[in-house]
């Protein structure tokens, strides 16, 4: 996250647009933080049981799939494109992983089964990303069109692979991995990693302290890697450059075609990872599990301050955006409000976010 810059303009260089841009710049970068804070305060006061470590862990685990998809989308949107295929790529990977794990189950050690499922899901998910990237970068077809086509292709492929039905995994232990926690603490001071301590006599389930659910751990690791990739590496810098001016990037010798392909591959890989995580958590794979997450993940990126015009956005912003959505969804449940209101609330926030983005753009263009 760039710190909003509040340097005083040089006296002889000062221009109206510069002074006008600064306050709005700060608002557009800082408003999501403020909004998130207000939401947490609001729900903490009004919702019984909202302000609670377990509830926050639940929020983290629930938002993991959306946020992992949104991380890939962040790269795509910063580069000036959009990837509409991530939802069904996620479903396709989830079905593939479920098929592999249910066929392999019992015939190999659990860890091997899980890793093979993961590998199969990622490899299958890599293909649509590669095709998207190749067509967008080489044939110069708008990303909206290409990924809309891939949306349909991945959807069909997912349903054909699964035979139209969710693929459920009967193997014992898969669900325990997907729903496990890093650390379990018992009231008598005993603890264990990854699974419950063996002797649970005399311990009520509510007394066991469970810390860091598995999806949240994966989420944190993937988020840190993406943040590093975007802000500290040449890959990230070139992503901003391509989104800022593709022409300038090309003239500077950046391999724009290769870079664009890599961005769509990354997006598809992260969507596939979300699919495999879904399969691990719910012990089944379904072709349409990612569909409702697609627009939510794009919303998270936009609320996080990325510009649909390209060139702007951060991983931290996307995390905040996903948190805002997750907390609205979770908080409204605690208030006992009809859950359908959450769609309306999230919709309003999306429009607000884009209004802020556009106001900023207009101000820049008008000067």
């Amino acid at each position: 996250m760039k710190v909003p810059d509040v340097a005083i303009p040089d006296a002889n260089q000062s221009q109206p647009r510069k002074t006008a841009l600064r306050p709005l710049d700060i608002v557009s970068r800082g408003w999501s933080w403020l909004f998130l804070l207000l939401l947490i305060i609001f729900f903490s006061i009004t919702g019984q049981g909202f302000l609670n470590i377990y509830n926050f862990q639940t929020i983290g685990a629930d938002m993991a799939l959306v946020l992992i998809m949104a991380l890939g989308q962040t790269f795509v949107i910063i580069s000036g494109g959009i990837d509409l295929s991530t939802g069904f790529v996620m479903g396709m990977a989830s079905v593939t992983a479920a098929l592999v794990m249910s066929r392999m189950g019992g015939s190999a050690p659990l860890l091997v089964v899980v890793l093979l499922g993961l590998a199969a899901g990622l490899i299958v998910g890599l293909i649509p990303g590669l095709v998207n990237g190749l067509i967008i970068a080489r044939l110069r077809v708008p990303s909206f069109i290409v990924t809309l086509g891939m949306y349909g292709i991945a959807r069909g492929t997912g349903f054909i692979l699964s035979g139209g039905q969710p693929v459920s995994i009967q193997t014992n232990g898969i669900g325990q991995i997907g729903n496990g926690y890093l650390l379990y603490l018992l009231p008598d001071g005993r603890f264990s990693f990854f699974h419950l301590p063996s002797n649970l006599q005399g311990v009520r389930p509510s007394q066991i302290v469970q810390l860091l659910p598995f999806p949240l751990i994966v989420l944190v690791i993937v988020t840190l890697i993406c943040a590093w990739l975007l802000s500290q590496t040449r890959f990230g810098r070139h992503t901003y450059a391509v989104g800022g001016s593709e022409e300038a990037a090309r003239r500077a010798g950046i391999p724009v075609i290769r870079h664009t392909i890599l961005i769509y591959v990354l997006s598809a890989l992260l969507a596939s990872l979300a699919g495999v995580l879904y399969t691990l958590r719910f012990s089944n794979g379904a072709a349409d599990v990612g569909d409702p997450l697609l627009l939510t993940s794009i919303a998270a990126v936009i609320i996080g301050g990325a510009s649909l015009f390209g060139g702007e956005g951060t991983i931290l912003g996307t995390v905040i955006g996903a948190l805002i959505i997750a907390i609205i969804q979770n908080g409204l449940i605690f208030l006992g409000i009809n859950p359908f209101w959450q769609f309306i609330a999230v919709g309003v926030v999306i429009i607000l976010a884009v209004l802020v983005d556009q106001a900023k753009k207009q101000l820049i263009e008008s000067s």
């Binding site: 810059d5 340097a7 303009p9 040089d10 260089q13 221009q15 647009r17 510069k18 841009l21 590093w228 500290q232 590496t233 040449r234 810098r237 070139h238 901003y240 450059a241 989104g243 800022g244 001016s245 022409e247 300038a248 990037a249 003239r251 500077a252 010798g253 950046i254 060139g311 702007e312 820049i364």
Partner: protein, 277 residues
């Protein structure tokens, strides 16, 4: 000058588009630390000629020598790698990145963290950028701001600083002062003088006669695809250059116009060619 190796020699460059000869055997020598003004009316072939030097067009005939060595570019990127930098109005910068990111765009300096992670060396790039900007006497209030917050002249200056930092042997500037305010125009001209003092030759393409006379050492005039003349600035006048640009048939008119403007009636027929490329 004869004993000094020219930085760039263009020998009899020739380019045609279909039946139209856009550039007809034009030659040009550029010496180190020299500013050349390239003048000509619309359609005179200036930009086609320049695009052959900067690698955007492939010549149909003739030869380009860089520091005495024959070169042939198939893309502008190749020309840039050999030190021929073309400064365009706005196209070559990423508005969303800061000055230092633009200067190092595509050639980022990396450093190793903990032995395995390669990451951007921001402090180094910032420091180097500040140095090259200082060296050219360019003042940018806050280097970390995205350059869309800079003025047109400052952005122009960032492009020039980038070219200087990466050791441009020849700088081509196509209408660098167009679309700039007057103080900024002066700043860019000053920058061209700074470049000359540091030994970087500049080819300045401009419609603005005053700009050319203010900074150029020599002027090349093109007319209808050919070189109409070449003069040292110290040995010529604006009137002579204009005569070269418009051709002999108008020279008399211009002379009269200069001597007694109120007595001249000009009748012209439009024979200007369409600008190519």
């Amino acid at each position: 000058m004869a004993d000094v190796q020219p930085s760039l020699q263009a020998k009899g460059l020739y380019k045609r588009f279909g039946g139209l000869v856009a550039v007809d055997h034009v030659s040009l020598d550029v010496y180190p630390g020299e500013v050349i003004g390239l003048l000509g009316d619309n359609g005179a072939g200036k930009s086609t000629f320049i695009k052959m030097i900067s690698g955007a067009y492939k010549p149909d005939g003739g030869q380009i020598l860089l520091n005495g060595e024959a070169v042939s570019f198939s893309t502008p990127l190749e020309a840039r790698r050999r030190g021929i930098e073309t400064i365009y109005q706005d196209l070559a910068l990423c508005d969303n990145l800061d000055a230092s990111a633009n200067i190092f765009l595509g050639r980022e300096k990396m450093r190793h963290q903990l032995g395995i992670f390669r990451m951007l060396d921001r402090p180094y790039m910032l420091h180097e950028s500040r140095q090259v900007l200082d060296q050219l006497d360019i003042r940018i209030p806050e280097l970390r701001n995205p350059i869309r917050q800079l003025s047109g002249g400052q952005r122009q200056a960032v492009s020039i600083a980038r070219a200087v930092y990466w050791n441009a042997h020849l700088m081509i500037m196509d209408e660098p002062t167009a679309s700039l305010g007057v103080p900024e125009q002066l700043k860019v001209l000053e920058l061209i003088r700074t470049l000359r003092n540091q030994g970087v030759p500049v080819i300045l393409i401009s419609h603005n006669m005053q700009d050319v006379f203010a900074v150029a050492d020599r002027v090349i005039v093109m007319r209808r695809g050919s070189k109409a003349g070449e003069r040292k600035i110290s040995e010529t006048t604006e009137n002579e250059v204009v005569s070269l640009m418009v051709g002999a048939e108008y020279t008399q008119v211009i002379k009269q116009l200069h001597d007694a403007p109120e007595e001249v009636h000009i009748t012209t027929h439009d024979e200007s060619e369409k600008e190519i490329g």
